[in-house]
């Protein structure tokens, strides 16, 4: 049963990360493989704020801002200029891999190779419907749930959210209908970047100890969750993340934990082979 508890937390963190990742794909059609490196950079910013005597929960804001600003800059000054050149989509993906190396190992060059951890209290433990959770873990789940509800509200009930959905469905049609798509894309990268920074920081908190390369393989889980729910679909991302997050942790209880990510891999490959538009999605007209 405790594995289900771990699963819930991983799923919650993965859900925030995947929603941000899939929103970026939705509005700009970029598979941003540098996402993991921005997550871990954000986590380190939070960590340094935390080291200066600020509580981890306040330091979290530093991570969120880092993620938002770094993602916005990345889109504005790297991806957008490359996309304007009308290159094959794969070029931008290769660029994102290059950025990922720069982000991850640039960080490692600065902070070195050692593991670090946040200064914070794990809090007391709670037994909750048969699950054993620390208050830290409960807070993480709470934050994630609140953020997901917030994203839902944004997409469903605000003009900005509707404009985002319109832009992701058909950018030129959205522009012709009077939506300022460039502004919407920028805003989407700020918001999704904030989600990325948040996910990175809570990922690091939940992991306990972390280093510059800790999030390097997180992209596997992100991709699996995104493709399970359908690329570019925020709700699909939530579903995919929760499924993948719980499935990997629960399977870890039954098989060798070293292989727990294999299930994500199998899901991803199966989706790519049979339903690359997601389990609920269908072919797009364009």
């Amino acid at each position: 049963m405790s594995s289900l508890g771990f699963g819930l937390i991983s799923a919650a963190v993965l859900a925030i990360a995947t929603v941000g990742f899939t929103m970026q794909f939705a509005v700009t059609n970029v598979l941003n493989l540098a996402y993991g490196s921005i997550m871990i950079n954000s986590a380190f910013v939070s960590y340094y704020v935390n080291q200066h005597g600020v509580t981890a929960w306040v330091a979290l804001v530093g991570g969120v801002l880092t993620g938002a600003i770094a993602s916005w800059l990345l889109n504005r000054f790297v991806y957008t200029p490359f996309q304007r050149r009308n290159l094959a989509p794969i070029t931008v993906v290769i660029v994102s891999l290059g950025i990922d190396l720069m982000g991850t190992f640039g960080l490692q060059a600065i902070v070195g190779g050692g593991f670090v951890s946040f200064t914070q209290n794990q809090g007391s433990e709670y037994h909750f419907a048969g699950l054993l959770l620390s208050s830290l873990q409960l807070i993480i789940i709470g934050i994630c749930a609140a953020v997901l509800v917030g994203v839902h509200g944004l997409l469903k009930y605000t003009r900005l959210g509707k404009a985002m959905r319109a832009t992701s469905a058909n950018r030129s049609l959205a522009r012709n209908s009077g939506i300022k798509t460039n502004y919407i894309i920028s805003t989407t990268w700020l918001i999704s970047g904030a989600l990325c920074g948040l996910a990175g920081t809570v990922f690091a908190m939940n992991a306990g100890v972390f280093e510059a390369t800790s999030a390097q393989l997180y992209i596997v889980l992100l991709l699996a969750a995104m493709f399970l729910g359908g690329p570019g679909e925020p709700y699909g991302a939530m579903f995919g993340a929760i499924t993948i997050g719980v499935a990997t942790e629960v399977s870890a209880a039954y098989i060798n934990p070293d292989y727990k990510d294999v299930i994500a891999f199998v899901v991803l490959i199966a989706m790519l082979m049979f339903r690359p538009f997601g389990i609920f999605g269908s072919e797009k007209t364009n």
Partner: protein
């Protein structure tokens, strides 16, 4: 002195291994456009295969301190051959990922993730290949006869590696410069269009993934028997990015560029860091190495996307001394400058091998209740039409009427949701688009669809069906096998080009032409695909009206000669002049059909389209 010698020998081996691997990847990525982000696992498969084929049984050797499968203790060269086979076999499961309906970047992440997870599996499952510790004490070839540590042995090893690398260079060059290589590059530039011209994408990608995998596997074997150990740490997924960096910097699509990139990036980086004084923390130098590789990729893709040695432009016209024509202005004004060549004089029937005119106006292509639904939106609904042989059938309708979708379903570019399509009496509903193209149904596209990095002449020649050099094994047989036929094909394409007045652009990249010129290239290319039924999607858009009418005349002549043409067009004067009958579509349904003058009498047609 002798330490210098060892150093040189080591560099020779490393450079050969990296150059070989880069050429294999360049064939996949630079030539065929397969972004194999998991390429390193193919090299690794070869390395492991060579190791376990040359090592003695695991239980009996060295007190069984390491675990691995096989252990056949084979003499050289069998472990190296086995390595190449292992690399080729590993390609097979990935054929399902690089299948033709998947976006290139999705396939690429599929391969990337496969590489990551394969590494995790090998690392953690010890009995297979000794897990994280890896395999060590891999025997060098002939080590019982010679001393592998001697300088002469190491130089001999380097020499063999170089000879094999040169062999691989000639092999990849032979494939790349053949008609088959032309089809691969066409697939790289636009896979959907290549498919519509009869290229079997899955087959092409499979052969190249296998050949690339075999080359990678051999490079792994050469490496492992030289360094005598191999472990998961040596083939993390990021190693593939290093090889990509090498190709991008050297020049994708150019095998000499791949060799140059191999020397600059993997070898160069390794050697430079050897001479750096230790600075800062121990991770600093390797970390900065990765940062530089990332930075180089981004900078090169921005400032010099074609690399140091760009892909060579192939001059097929034989006019080697003529300077390349200045790429014409992108605006369509320049179409007015197109000299309308001897279009009238051109004998298409002979040129396109149409055979004797048969013109019995029988139904050649028909549909029954053809329907296409995207998500919940029905774009084409219940369309039942019959196309008669030897007729130039027009298709009109307002935007969104489903004209292009219908055309795409006829050609097989889009699968239909329901309904049937019949061609010459046979149900072809489930036939793939490349097979339909070879059977004689060829289409053009509404959006620009030229192969950008192929010259105009290459664009035309690559469409000609049944070229003997346009198969994998045909390309391996060399120019002596396909050369004469290819010269013939080039001559045919040149005549067509002359007829359309575009001779001066024969050796220019098609991507540099104006919009109208590109339309013409597309029409010529479709004609050279030797269609029985030609499906044209707005072929005259952007073409100078004078020329449009001359092309129309030629299309009419082709129909008289037995070709069947379906043309979607907005220009009513073209419809009036050339098309009979005309089918009117509106909101996904057939609204009416008949001659233009009949249609003008029908109120609902006039309302739906002709006026508005």
């Amino acid at each position: 002195m002798s330490s210098y010698g060892y150093y040189i020998a080591i560099i020779l081996v490393y450079a050969s291994v990296d150059a070989m691997a880069c050429m294999g990847l360049n064939l996949e990525f630079g030539v065929a456009g397969i972004s194999n982000f998991g390429y390193i696992i193919f090299q690794s498969a070869g390395a492991y295969a060579a190791a376990i084929l040359s090592m003695p049984n695991a239980a009996s050797s060295n007190g069984g301190f390491q675990k691995y499968v096989l252990g056949w203790h084979l003499p050289w060269p069998f472990p190296w051959i086995g390595a190449a086979i292992a690399g080729g076999l590993l390609a097979l499961p990935f054929v399902f990922i690089v299948g033709k309906r998947l976006r290139g970047d999705f396939a690429a992440v599929g391969l990337l993730v496969s590489a990551v997870l394969l590494n995790v599996l090998v690392k953690n499952y010890v009995p297979f290949l000794n897990g994280d510790a890896g395999i060590s004490l891999v025997p060098a070839p002939f080590q019982s006869h010679f001393n592998p540590q001697s300088l002469s042995y190491q130089f001999a090893y380097g020499a063999v590696a170089i000879i094999l690398t040169i062999g691989v260079y000639f092999l990849v060059q032979r494939v790349t410069e053949s008609p088959y290589g032309r089809s691969l590059r066409a697939m790289r530039d636009n896979d959907i269009v290549a498919d519509s011209l009869g290229k079997d994408l899955r087959k092409q990608r499979t052969s190249i993934l296998i050949l690339g995998g075999m080359i990678a596997g051999l490079s792994g074997a050469i490496l492992v028997e030289f360094i005598t150990l191999w472990a998961p740490g040596a083939w993390g997924y990021a190693e593939t990015i290093v090889l990509f960096a090498a190709i991008i910097i050297g020049g994708a699509g150019n095998h000499k560029g791949a060799i140059l990139g191999a020397i600059l990036v993997p070898v160069g980086f390794e050697e430079i860091t050897r001479y750096l004084p230790p600075l800062g923390n121990p991770e600093l130098v390797p970390a900065l190495e990765w940062v530089s590789i990332g930075l180089l990729i981004v900078l090169f893709l921005w400032f010099r996307p074609d690399g140091i040695l760009p892909e060579r432009r192939r001059i097929l016209s034989g006019n080697k001394n003529a300077p390349p024509p200045a790429p014409s202005a992108a605006d369509d004004e320049s179409d007015a400058l197109i000299k309308i060549g001897d279009l009238q004089k051109l004998n298409f029937r002979e040129l396109l091998r149409l055979g004797e005119p048969v013109n019995d106006h029988r139904v050649i292509l028909s549909t029954n209740a053809l329907t296409k639904t995207f998500n919940t939106v029905t774009v084409v609904s219940d369309v039942t039409i019959a196309i008669h042989q030897g007729k130039l059938t027009g298709m009109i309708g307002p935007n969104g009427a489903g004209k292009s979708t219908t055309l795409a379903m006829l050609a097989g570019t889009l699968p239909s949701t329901s309904g049937q399509i019949f061609y010459e009496g046979k149900d072809i509903t489930s036939m793939s688009s490349d097979k339909r193209a070879l059977a004689g149904i060829v289409r053009t596209f509404q959006l620009a669809s030229e192969f950008k990095k192929l010259t105009v002449l290459e664009n035309l020649v690559c469409a000609i069906p049944n070229q003997s050099g346009d198969t994998f094994f045909g390309s391996l047989r060399g120019k002596r096998y396909w050369g004469a036929e290819d010269r013939d094909n080039i001559e045919r394409a040149k005549e067509v080009l002359e007829g359309f007045g575009l001779s001066q652009y024969a050796d220019a990249y098609a991507g540099g032409l104006s919009g109208g010129q590109r339309r013409l290239v597309e029409i010529m290319r479709a004609l050279l695909a030797e269609p029985k039924v030609l499906l044209l999607d707005e072929p005259m858009a952007g073409v100078h009206p004078n020329l449009a009418h001359k092309i129309g005349d030629q299309l009419t002549k082709l129909c008289e000669g037995g070709m069947t043409i379906v043309m979607v067009e907005h220009e009513l004067s073209i419809m009036d002049a050339f098309c009979d009958p005309v089918i009117v579509l509106a909101e996904g349904r057939v609204l009416a059909q008949g001659t233009m003058s009949e249609l003008r009498q029908k109120e609902e047609v006039v309302e739906a389209y002709l006026v508005g």
